[in-house]
């Protein structure tokens, strides 16, 4: 905490802080701010923006309602992570390894590693797509962005990086402007948010799962918990952390909402089909003007670079944590060779995939999402089991409401995943037994 320059002034400021609890609380809150907001922003990555744009273009305002359960689930899950981080002082990977043994850990982390390489590739696809709107070739933009990210992480300082990320988070609000420029029909938006129409075909289901799955990704739980530990928060500060988490979740959902609205008001109304976020930015041009399109592309670029930094970093970090290697952005390369090697490896593979001519991007995105969706229940179940164990959490175990929401989220995700996986098999089964 820095103080004002003149001692007299500083004294006055702190006196005022002591006298006015509201001001003091705000001050403490600002010093704690970070983990929740950053996690919430990373959450709206290229994959997320793609999912929201496609959802808006395909179903108009019809899928906005899914953001409400997504928000509740996201908040409850992230809050559990923050609480576990503060109470135990340990990362989620550590806890899983200690309580569930090496085999389960290994399977979760191999899955996460593969999924996150796919995720990172999706981020670089976002960089390539958004820069192509500005007429820059992917063979220039992707290597440059990757090199920039690598240098920032390896040579940089975590504090500086965190500041940059917070500034990044603000940039994501460019989507709000894009959405307003698209002149949506706000009555229709409100109507479909409050009276959702459900369909039960596989496309609609997979879109629903896609939105929930992109809002709650498995790696986020690990990231959230380690950034809480990094901040060395005290149990006393827990109530401020909740606000930070809440703010992060609100930011996530608000940005998602405006992306869906922007695409629904323009592309859905005019029946334009898109496959990825960059298409959405392109297609906005004729309907909402070049400025909205460029803003959309800029938001996509920022989100992609942002997540392309955090994702490989978080992945390298928790894989090392689980298997007992030194890890951390504050360590030197020779102190944590496995950590930096893994980070570089994930980046290199992801960039390599994107730079391949005719890379099967859509397939990679879909498979990554499926892997995420399959891993998420496993991670959530281990989390809920641990957060309810008095041995681990002492008096800070879940209350009944948190458990209900946690289990319901897990069950719904499991159900949706299973439905999705057996959907293609249904006709075959009918033929066999019909």
């Amino acid at each position: 905490m820095s103080e004002a320059a003149a001692p007299g002034l500083a004294k006055g400021f702190f006196e005022r802080l002591k006298e006015r609890p509201a001001l003091r609380n705000l001050f403490i809150f600002l010093s704690i701010l970070g983990p929740g907001i950053i996690t919430g922003s990373v959450d709206n990555d290229a994959g997320g923006i793609t999912t929201y744009s496609v959802a808006g273009a395909l179903y108009g305002y019809n899928l906005i309602w899914t953001l409400i359960p997504s928000f509740v689930a996201l908040f409850v899950v992230q809050e559990m992570n923050a609480r576990m981080g503060i109470v135990t002082g340990k990362g989620l990977a550590d806890l899983i390894r200690e309580n569930f043994g090496v085999k389960i850990t290994f399977f979760i982390f191999i899955g996460l590693l593969i999924a996150d390489i796919g995720n990172t590739a999706t981020e670089f696809a976002g960089v390539a797509g958004s820069m192509s709107i500005f007429g820059i070739s992917k063979y220039l933009s992707v290597p440059l962005a990757a090199a920039g990210v690598w240098i920032m992480v390896v040579k940089g300082d975590y504090k500086v990086a965190e500041r940059i990320f917070l500034v990044f988070s603000v940039c994501l609000f460019s989507y709000i402007v894009s959405a307003v420029l698209a002149k949506p029909d706000w009555h229709a938006v409100a109507r479909s948010s409050l009276h959702p129409q459900m369909h039960l075909d596989s496309d609609y289901l997979s879109m629903t799962l896609g939105i929930i799955g992109t809002t709650i990704a498995p790696w986020m739980q690990f990231y959230m918990q380690s950034s809480v530990i990094e901040k060395r928060l005290k149990i006393e500060e827990y109530r401020y952390v909740i606000w930070d988490v809440l703010l992060g979740c609100v930011a996530t959902v608000v940005v998602a909402f405006f992306i869906i609205v922007a695409c629904a008001a323009t592309l859905h109304v005019n029946g334009v089909k898109i496959n990825e976020a960059a298409d959405a930015a392109m297609s906005l041009k004729p309907f909402a003007g070049p400025f909205a399109s460029e803003l959309f592309a800029f938001g996509l670029f920022v989100a992609s670079v942002f997540s392309a930094t955090i994702l490989p970093l978080a992945t390298a970090f928790y894989v090392c944590e689980a298997f007992g290697f030194e890890a951390g952005i504050n360590k030197k390369i020779h102190e944590a060779p496995q950590f930096y090697a893994l980070f570089t490896f994930i980046m290199a593979v992801a960039v390599g995939i994107i730079l391949l001519p005719h890379a099967p991007l859509i397939a990679i995105t879909i498979w990554t999402q499926v892997l995420n969706a399959m891993l998420l229940p496993v991670v959530l179940i281990s989390m809920i089991l641990m957060v309810n164990s008095p041995k681990i959490m002492g008096e800070h175990v879940n209350n009944r409401f948190q458990n209900w929401v946690g289990w319901i989220t897990t069950v719904i995700l499991l159900g949706l995943t299973v439905m999705l996986l057996i959907q293609p098999a249904l006709p075959i089964l009918k033929k066999l037994f019909g």
């Binding site: 135990t88 090496v102 007992g324």
Partner: protein
């Protein structure tokens, strides 16, 4: 395989194997854990925990003396294995379950001064007797646990033409820190804490690497002086976080052993309830000092000084002063400088330990003291204090009040730390 003779084995080769009852020749369960006694130099396997299997199946304790034969990765044949289930499984006075205590848990490697995660245990085997000799913290151990060491090792040899490197830590350098049930007993069982051999700065680093419970466990196994030193070396934010979870009684003991300026920094950041509880347990004079220093602004010499220093009158002889240095060496921050005061307690000179040792024993200090003492005032800005250190090359400076009475001393380290924090926080965006 590794460079060890074949009478070494791994815990992972025993956990999970079937247990055969010697009398009937039938399988009665599987090995789920091993108990070891901590009386000897190396923990000796004293029993096996066996289970009927299934979710929370019945468990039984099988004394190791009943074991007839042990075939690694195959089976364990023992007498009375079937009858063992008739009794409640109970561990002896000095026994621990080694799988539960070590597998996948963190330990402190005293030799390398760091926290590592245990993949497997390396056991020495002589006939039927087993001892725990090493903790396996290497990749091969991880692969063995995953059950794919053979093929992986073969592949590795094929590619790199050398076998994979094992990484072991000898039991002699292991400090367990598990927070499982019965852990308090564990801290007592591993009777003297090996951690007190470490340098406080290394201990502090280990503390930072651990979770909340483990920190408390380790703290419990250290004496107040060692714990206080390690505690002082931690970054302030981590210290405050840790202090929040330490019981007040213990915290008071720690704080009592800490330098005054560090105590003030800590107390200033503690939650109010904790702060009050702590101050109630400290000696009255210490509380008065802490409260006095808390009033001082964070940016002046008074806030980073230490109140324990050596002072004598002008007429004291070198021998008398040396006696005093000896008597107070434990209490004060620097024994190298002794400040000389006149009858009004004003600072008039300083003598160094070197001068005291070389001066004639009966010479009064007034004769050989240095009269021009560089000093700072209570309200000197900490940046100016740092400048004076840089200019004069001193290691300690006295801090005086308006009337020239010494109130405390500042070490170069404290000064640099204080300024560095300030410089860093000024460079940062306002948090």
């Amino acid at each position: 395989m590794s460079g060890y003779p074949s009478n070494f084995t791994y815990l992972s080769y025993i956990i999970g194997i079937p247990v055969i009852d010697a009398a009937s020749g039938r399988q009665v369960g599987r090995v789920v854990d091993m108990a070891a006694g901590l009386r000897e130099m190396f923990p000796r396997i004293s029993g096996a925990m066996i289970s009927r299997g299934g979710w929370n199946g019945a468990r039984a304790y099988l004394p190791w003396k009943n074991v007839k034969s042990l075939e690694l990765r195959k089976a364990l044949v023992a007498e009375g294995a079937a009858e063992a289930f008739a009794q409640e499984p109970k561990l002896g006075e000095n026994e621990i379950l080694i799988k539960e205590t070590f597998w996948d848990k963190q330990i402190v490697d005293i030799h390398g001064c760091k926290v590592v995660r245990v993949n497997d245990l390396h056991l020495l085997r002589e006939d039927q007797n087993l001892w725990v000799v090493h903790m396996d913290v290497g990749i091969p151990g991880l692969l063995r646990r995953l059950g794919c060491f053979g093929p992986c090792d073969w592949l590795f040899k094929l590619v790199f033409s050398v076998p994979m490197r094992e990484k072991f830590i000898s039991w002699k350098f292991v400090q367990p820190i598990t927070s499982t049930i019965g852990s308090d007993a564990l801290a007592l069982k591993v009777h003297h804490s090996k951690l007190s051999e470490l340098h406080p700065a290394d201990l502090a680093e280990i503390f930072i690497d651990l979770g909340t419970d483990e920190r408390l466990l380790i703290l419990q196994s250290l004496d107040d002086a060692t714990a206080a030193q390690a505690f002082q070396e931690m970054p302030l934010s981590a210290r405050v976080q840790m202090a929040e979870t330490i019981p007040e009684g213990r915290l008071a003991g720690l704080v009592d052993g800490m330098a005054m300026d560090e105590v003030v920094d800590l107390v200033a950041q503690l939650p109010k309830k904790k702060k009050d509880a702590l101050l109630r347990r400290l000696p009255a004079e210490k509380v008065a000092q802490v409260k006095g220093l808390l009033e001082v602004s964070r940016r002046v010499a008074g806030s980073i000084m230490n109140t324990a220093f050596l002072s004598v009158r002008r007429d004291a002889t070198a021998a008398q002063v040396l006696e005093q240095v000896k008597a107070e060496a434990k209490r004060v921050e620097s024994i190298y400088h002794t400040y000389v005061l006149d009858e009004n307690d004003e600072l008039v000179g300083v003598v160094t330990l070197r001068q005291l040792l070389t001066a004639p024993a009966d010479a009064p200090v007034a004769g050989f003291m240095r009269k021009r003492v560089v000093r700072v005032a209570l309200d000197t800005n900490i940046k100016d204090v740092a400048d004076i250190f840089l200019k004069y090359d001193f290691t300690v400076l006295p801090v005086v009040d308006r009337r020239g009475r010494v109130q405390g001393t500042i070490t170069m380290k404290d000064s640099v730390e204080a300024v560095f924090q300030q410089v860093r926080s000024e460079a940062e965006v306002v948090k």
